[in-house]
């Protein structure tokens, strides 16, 4: 397998929340969420860390797809999810503390899209 600094696990939108809950129960901490805009799609990477291990959930979605927020599992994800929403325009549902695109308060709309 190609080494990308951790184990890449392909994911679907429906699987995201159950698999995230399983990770938390297993004692992993949330490290980061990253989005990349590629050919009209978003590629989301949710990474989890446990000791020195690193697992990455890879989710490829269209611009119109709606992703559930994981703040109900890891409450600390609210900052990253607000960032993805404001800078990329990823549609994320039910974020714990939703800044409603007012986190960075930039003039330009979704500059990373």
């Amino acid at each position: 397998m190609e080494n990308i600094g951790g184990n890449k696990i392909e994911m679907t939108i429906a699987d995201l929340l159950p698999k995230t809950i399983a990770k938390k129960e297993d004692g992993w901490r949330l490290s980061q969420i990253c989005s990349t805009s590629l050919d009209g799609k978003y590629e989301l990477s949710y990474s989890f860390a446990k000791d020195m291990e690193y697992d990455i959930f890879r989710l490829v979605i269209d611009h119109d797809d709606v992703v559930p927020s994981i703040t109900s599992v890891y409450s600390a994800a609210f900052l990253i999810e607000n960032e993805l929403k404001e800078l990329f325009g990823v549609k994320i549902e039910r974020i714990g503390i939703d800044f409603d695109n007012k986190l960075y308060r930039i003039n330009e709309e979704t500059p990373f899209k």
Binding site: Y104, R105, I106, N107, E108, P111
Partner: protein, 144 residues
Amino acid sequence: MANVKRSPWLLHYDGSSCNGCDIEVLACTTPVYDVERFGVVNTGDPFHADIFLITGGINSQNKEVVEQIYSQMPSPKVVVAVGTCACTGGVFKECYNILGGVDTVIPVDIYVPGCAARPESIIDGVVKAVALFQEKADAMDSKK
């Protein structure tokens, strides 16, 4: 205000700087460089400040903060832009959220170049600012 240059108070605000110039400004007030030997005192309150040191470029959100701090300072006042970002926008000029150097929102009197600006050049800028401050104060007096 005959000898106001002997004790000008200094205010520092971080625009969107990377911290490099900020810590150099702070380093100027600590033992090795010690800008306070020129009578300068570092204050946190714009209402007491005479010289405004600003680091980093201007972005869409801190624009109002900078304008507000500038308007709160009593006249006469001197603005010093510290570092390349504060002068022109620097390496971040092409970023979507950077409007440019400090002179895009408030008038700047003295430009201190460098990335990060060295303490020696910051002190040089402050000394020039102190002289300019006296000049502005004298001009205000003669108008009365």
